[in-house]
Subunit: 199 residues, 2 copies
């Protein structure tokens, strides 16, 4: 443990920026939450500026996201029918773990465009690629649907939307729990695929 001051500052900045945004977070508040004397300027022994700490927070969260994704990719997903459901639940779990990064994005997209596009690569694009991989593996005959790419878009949109609605409003659309949501999404995919297979 033994968190260094630098780490406590990063924790404090992440927490506060998630809640209040970048302009809404003062250096004084960060110092206070990090256990430093508020207004003392001790912050500046560790970071050059407020923007510098934001970028450092961002980098740390992006690395965490990479690590979560790696352990996620090693997870066992080999069963035939329920594989999709479990896969979707894992994706939701992953989104919850990288929630801080998504919150930073939701608040500050536009302020630091360079960072925004890097989140896009890390979350959405890698999410798409990985989902494509698992869909082709988990479905009996692969995605037999007419437009596999659009199918991916639907899946990624549904997972993202479910997470974000929960994040913004504190509850899911229609108050349906994650497992119920995931099972229904999986059922839609498999039913449609079977249908298109011409059974």
């Amino acid at each position: 443990m033994a968190a260094t001051t630098r780490e406590r500052i990063l924790d404090a900045a992440l927490e506060l920026i998630q809640r209040n945004g970048f302009p809404g977070t003062t250096v004084t508040a960060i110092e206070e939450r990090a256990g430093l004397s508020p207004g003392s300027g001790s912050f500046y022994r560790h970071f050059r500026s407020k923007e510098a700490v934001f970028r450092a927070v961002f980098e740390r969260e992006l690395e965490r996201a990479q690590r979560h994704r790696e352990e996620f990719e090693r997870g066992p997903v080999d069963e035939p029918q329920d594989a999709l459901t479990r896969r979707f639940l894992q994706q939701l779990d992953y989104m919850a773990k990288v929630g801080p990064l998504i919150n930073l994005l939701a608040r500050e997209h536009g302020r630091f465009p360079d960072l925004t596009s890097r989140i896009g690569d890390a979350l959405v694009d890698r999410g798409i690629i990985e989902e494509a991989w698992h869909l082709t593996r988990d479905l009996p005959a692969g995605p037999g649907h007419g437009d596999p790419r659009a199918l991916l878009t639907v899946v990624v949109s549904a997972l993202s939307g479910y997470h974000l609605v929960q994040e913004f409003f504190g509850r899911s659309p229609a108050d349906v729990a994650p497992d119920r949501f995931a099972a229904t999404l999986a059922a839609l995919i498999t039913a449609s695929t079977r249908d298109q297979d011409g059974r």
Copy 2:
């Protein structure tokens, strides 16, 4: 036309708060964008405080959202097969129209909890109810799926997610256009429903 100063201030505040958030928007910047002398304080002849103008902006956007929804509900949706696709495209269009409100939410949820829950009622809950209504009407035998409520959650999540990803990153997941997305989502629903009907 002939926008009053009050309306120009509301426009300026909406624009700036969407981009920079509430704490990131200064009264001076609002004045400048509204054609007033920046830093003059003329703003305060029209609004008591920065919070007051935020609330006024919010109310105006909420009223606009209600109006958009009313004309939306009067739209003709009576064809059998493509009705769902067109319905989903209308929903996406509606989300684009109430985009400002969604942006205010994404940025400032948590700062004004009373306003957040009102957006939730107006957008998500009314969206759910209306979607339920149209699903039961547009599908041949009604939603034959095993869990109609979870199906609604999937639909609303997918539509919300598609919109928000586009909002945050400037492009849809996997770069699939709205009509392709809507058609695929509709195909999923109808295929699944037929399947459950036991044909």
